[in-house]
């Protein structure tokens, strides 16, 4: 297991997501997460980014609750005391807000925006 391979899965996932092959993208992001967590542990900013990407794919599948759970996981990693990614919290809140909005949960959406 090597981080270069993890990165290549994340890159492939992002391209597949953009192409619209969401199921394949999800599988790539999951492969990236398992390798990264084995190599880096659970509180790395790169892993937070991949959880966010995975959330975007579930959002595209209109599985908004699943997306929100993944964004929250990403947020939790970024907020942890071990984290080095505190400056990208805004992205998480925007994505969470967007998924709540698509769910019709406007109060929660406004809170996160």
């Amino acid at each position: 297991m090597h981080l270069a391979t993890a990165t290549s899965y994340n890159n492939l996932g992002s391209s597949l997501h953009s192409l619209g092959s969401v199921e394949q993208a999800i599988s790539c992001f999951n492969s990236c997460i398992s390798i990264s967590e084995a190599v880096l542990g659970n509180y790395n900013k790169d892993i937070a980014t991949v959880y966010n990407n995975l959330g975007l794919s579930y959002h595209k599948k209109q599985q908004y609750q699943q997306a929100i759970d993944l964004y929250l996981k990403s947020l939790h990693i970024k907020q942890s005391k071990h984290s080095t990614a505190k400056n990208s919290l805004a992205t998480s809140y925007i994505n969470i807000g967007l998924s709540y909005k698509c769910q019709g949960n406007y109060d929660q959406a406004v809170q996160n925006y």
């Binding site: 297991m1 090597h2 990165t7 899965y9 391209s15 953009s18 192409l19």
Partner: protein, 143 residues
């Protein structure tokens, strides 16, 4: 953290013998790497270009030449100059394959960097194809 590394490398650069082109280009390249990590892509580009200017005159140091072409591609990509980034990254891949072989980790990683640029250009299918090659190459090279 990067500032002290940059300071140190600037001193190394001043102390280096200008005729030792291999050493000067290596220091320029690592200065570029420091600025890139710091997020100053413009200064990074300046140092990578200085390294490139020297390296193109040398017949040895082909690995570093490929690395510098790739890094210039990454800088140009960060600056939004995708078309030019594409040329440098492709050049890097050509040299990498010639020097290290198609199945090297460097070749796989740089194919991925090309895929990132194609994604930014909106060429999704091309990007997927490059990332598939990159992912399979990484698996083969390092697991």
């Amino acid at each position: 953290m990067y500032d002290s590394a940059i300071n140190y490398k600037q001193k190394m650069l001043k102390a280096a013998n200008p005729s030792d082109m291999g050493r000067v280009s290596a220091i320029e390249s690592s200065l570029g790497e420091c600025y890139f990590r710091k997020g100053d892509h413009s200064k990074a580009l300046t140092h990578f270009r200085s390294a490139l200017e020297i390296l193109t005159k040398l017949t040895s140091q082909k690995s570093l030449l490929a690395e510098v072409y790739d890094n210039i591609g990454r800088c140009l990509h960060e600056q939004g100059n995708y078309q030019e980034a594409l040329l440098y990254t492709q050049k890097s891949i050509d040299i990498t394959i010639a020097v290290n072989g198609e199945e090297s980790l460097d070749a796989a990683v740089r194919l991925g960097n090309l895929g990132v640029i194609e994604l930014s250009l909106g060429n999704f299918e091309k990007s997927v194809e490059l990332h598939r090659r990159s992912q399979q190459g990484c698996l083969k090279a390092v697991g």
